[in-house]
Amino acid sequence: MRRSVSRRFVLTGAAVAATSLVIPIALTRTRATERSTDHEITDWIVIAANGQVTLGLSQPEVGQGSYTALPQILADELDADWKRVEVQFVTGRPAYKIAFRQEAPVQKEGASMSTTVLYERLRTAGAAAREVLIRAAAQTWGIDISLCRTENGFVINSRGEKLSYGQLAADAAKLPLSAAPPLKHPSRFHLIGKPVARLDTPAKCNGSAVYGIDVNVPGMLNAAITTAPSFTGQIIAIKNEGDILKMPGVRAVVKIPAIDYRDGSSQPSDGTTRYNAVCVVADHFWQARRALVSLDVTFDGGAHGDLSSDKINAALDAALSAEHGVTALVRGQPRAILKDHAASVIERRFKLPHIAHAPHEPCNATASYNNGAVEVWGPVQSVSACQDAIAESFSCPADKVAVHVTFLGGSFGRKIVPDFVVQAVHASKAVGRPVKLIRSREEDTQHDVYRPNAGAHLRAVLDPTGYPLAVHARVAGQSLFNATRRNWLDHTPEGDWDESMVDGLYNQSYRLPHFLVETVDTPLPVPVYFMRSVGSTAAVFFWESLITELAHQAKIDQYAYRRHLLSADPLALHVLDAAAKAAGWETPPPPDTFRGIAYNCYIGRGGRFKTYVAQVVELRRVADRLAVKRVVCAVDPGLAVNPNTVKAQIEGGIGFAMTTALKSKITFSNGGTDQSNFFDYNLLSIDEMPEIVPIVLPSDRPPQGMGEVVLAPIAPAIAQALLHGTGRRLDVMPFPDDAFKAVTP
């Protein structure tokens, strides 16, 4: 069916006359909605008299496809006419919030949790709305509800008479909603489980989709910002402010207080405030940028102006070699066994750097500070974090901070931290007008909230049959939870440990009788945060590389080895077998083709979901190098609400993870980041992208997470294929370029 291009997209429009880009659904059900012909049926569903159905979207669209998949759930239970559906971002109600681990619910997208957590909630909302529409129709006809059914935006009775949802909306809106309406049997789904075309695609193909950077509000000025290169630095002097203020269009030079990266709030304005950034506010962004380039500002290094990668790596090495870590897990007698078999211990040591999110749309926000009332527009991944940071920074109530969420040009976790929003509010407050603050790519790269570094030292002993008997895993690095979420740390008498450092390592179902997992935190002044797949990209690289090493030394096939160790876990075997079969693993590869296999069960934060993934990478020789040419990826994601977006996550997730495996590295000197733009922090290009064979396995389980789950296995799978092709072991990421040199003539 041809997609309608006349569909309105509420998150679109290059120039906006109104003050709000997106108008939230009314805060309470009894308040009038925007037009008197719009009728709010539930928190999520507004039906207009003309039959237009507006579905609320609480989860920011960051490219993951929630803009389509979540409305699908509502529309299916509702039996709406999908062609009459419009999506509108909503905020301001408890219904739109989800709980991450043991915290109070927030409005935020992240942790691959949106579909898993909202599935039942949205089904219930859709079903409850359908029920009141039926009751409204039954009342109109004076018949029993059992004589009514719904289809495609109509209630139809046993005599074949029809009433449209548009005709029924006003009456339905007055009826009380059932808390537990009957849900459809899955056999009756007509949207859920189908590869429905993405609703936001047309707008993203003609330039009409509005991202944060595109926001335009009346009276708006534009700002460019530069921050002290050292994370602990501050402004020492601004020498030519007078000259800058005379430049065309320039309105103000504003010093911005340093941000606490744990929550994105700025330090209080008192005598101790450290001002570490300065922005130039001008009529046009290009004027602000030109002026900023000419600004003569000096920064110092501050308390950790000597931070460098040498120091960071030395601390990591020391942590890996330290006598003790904090025990995350112990079973059996690992220390004793390793000691008894000291002569045959197999060891690997790994080191991974900090990396940057590098969303394609650099961080930016538009803010209006007006007499203590704050309104912001932009690519915000967590509405709640944004409100809280602004409330703390400007002493205003969080729930009065109006946040308008646009499309996000990528985030991967970056835009949860609202530092760039708080900075925009400061700029607006200083000039008394709305300000759009845009970071340059250099600023975005150098003031990211990085994925922490990670290292591991693993020691293992094999049993007489060649399978692992005992493993001691020591994982070290800058602890994300200790830096940003101390309430998520696990506590033991020895100290605290950070689960994200060992995600995918300590909680796998591989058979292993004796296991010790320890962590050592190496705290650093580097701002860090969650980045797509969090610690699992490192921890699964460590773990799967160890398994590879053990199988290699035992001279057992890599697939058979994993199969044996995972034999008690049918869902693990399911994906492993599917990937191996599709890749033709058991058939010898052609000459100059080398394969690698890896497995991971991605366990959602707090155990919210389990997504099983297995990948087979194929390297092929191209001239004198080995190139990643094909990746087979089998996933069991539970019910795939939209197999189209699930496959996209497989394709894109693998490409994203290949950037991490092959290219991403942030280094530090003089207290701050060395890299700045895509020439020294580069991304995978199209000629490096392999063919992807996505296999989505059918499942009876409800929807599990997809956003982050396929990333972790790619690096160890590539490393294993390289081991097969060149004999070389890889113990760092990014993999050195010369690792891909073909060995055979």
């Binding site: 996209a648 290009s685 199209i686």
Partner: protein, 165 residues
Amino acid sequence: MPVTFSVNGKPAEFDGPDDVPLLWVVREQLGLTGSKFGCGVGLCGACTMHIDGAPTRTCVMPIGDLQGRKVTTIEGLSPDLGHPVQKAWIELDVPQCGYCQSGMIMAAASLLSRHPHPTDRDIDQTMTNLCRCATYTRIRAAIHRAAEVAAGTIGSGAPSGTGVP
């Protein structure tokens, strides 16, 4: 001395410093925000427009060089999403976050105008635009599909596999 040029068939004028990048003139002065800012140094291609038909990274294109020239932005590629590249992009649901896609589509349109049936090698060598979401798999497939659409072979863009009732 103002620079006069045209954008999407309409006359445009800019009176300001010669070195202001075309990207910002188009985004701010003309309010056409479809072309994006990604790097500012001509590396990512999010800012790609056509200047006299040639694909150009406009974040490093000084407005002073635009005198008398014709600019086409993503907004002007077609009035109705009807360009074969747009049709193919929609049919295959290429975009994820979508931020790179305006530039990507402009680059692909330009590639097809010069190579109506591009090989994978042509694509590899010409499509140097970056995509952080790594939608490259579908970009490649959509370029091939767009070539078919443009040639009038195998239908004219009815979406497949949408599952929409």
